[in-house]
Amino acid sequence: TVNPSENHSSASFDDPLSTSNDSAWSKFFEDDELRDTIKLDL
């Protein structure tokens, strides 16, 4: 039986849902409004 109740800080591994280190590019791809605005500007 394996139970991951031994919690570890997410700092010790990559966390796909981490909000602490979002790059500008990831924000760009996740923000539809920002992406559309930039398209209009171009």
Binding site: N3, E6, N7, S10, P16, L17, E30
Partner: protein, 207 residues
């Protein structure tokens, strides 16, 4: 394409037992900041969402949403405009067949021998269930039983310690990494377990 998530494989949010608004008001803010569109490819929900609005929010998160009905969904059926959901589902993601059931039908609730019977009946590698409001990732006979707990930490008559939680699966072919997210005293705790389908018991590892 999900550029920032590419190296994690297919991301599957496993969530349920919201009970909004009957037992809780909202999903905790720290969770809401993480659960945004364009990160996950699938949502698997164990049911008992509580309202049509919660279902619509799940549909905003990912293109593929797989929901089963919970015991409370059956009680409120037709009164909150919730579409009728099946009691079980089977989803193929990567090389894994994943079965989903709310869990109130499995007696005793949360019992792994009883869950194994459902898992064999559905012929799946991973069985997702809820209802107990206690998250779990358990190996059983070389397969896995996963329970995301309650995302709101909603009241349950069987739990004295109510911890809001959900799970994220990162599937790459025959390998899946399972992340458990919990709010303990409003602090986010994340744990990670990785397993592969082939030779599943020997390749299991925790971090």
């Amino acid at each position: 394409p999900i550029y920032s998530m590419a190296n994690f494989g297919e991301l599957v949010l496993v969530i349920g037992d919201h009970h909004i608004p009957s037992r809780s008001n909202v999903i905790p803010e720290k969770f809401r900041r993480m659960l945004v569109p364009n990160k996950m490819q699938h949502v698997i929900c164990t049911g008992n969402l509580g309202s049509r609005e919660q279902y619509d929010e799940l549909r905003q998160l990912a293109p593929n949403v797989h929901v089963v009905s919970g015991d409370c969904d059956e009680m409120v059926g037709g009164t909150n405009d919730m579409p009728q959901m099946p009691p079980t589902r089977v989803v193929q993601i990567g090389e894994f067949r994943i079965g989903v059931i709310h869990g109130h039908q499995v007696l005793p609730w949360g019992d792994h021998m009883a869950l194994a019977g459902i898992r064999r009946k559905l012929n799946v590698d991973i069985l997702v269930s809820g209802h107990t409001h206690q998250n779990e990732v358990v190996e059983h006979d070389g397969c896995f039983h996963i329970n995301p707990g309650s995302v709101t930490g909603a009241f349950s008559p069987t739990q004295t310690k109510l911890v809001p939680s959900f799970i994220l699966l990162a599937v790459q072919g025959s390998t899946v990494v399972c992340y458990v997210y919990e709010l303990i005293n409003d602090n986010l705790e994340v744990s990670k377990t990785e397993f592969t389908k082939k030779d599943i018991s020997s390749s299991l590892s925790s971090y």
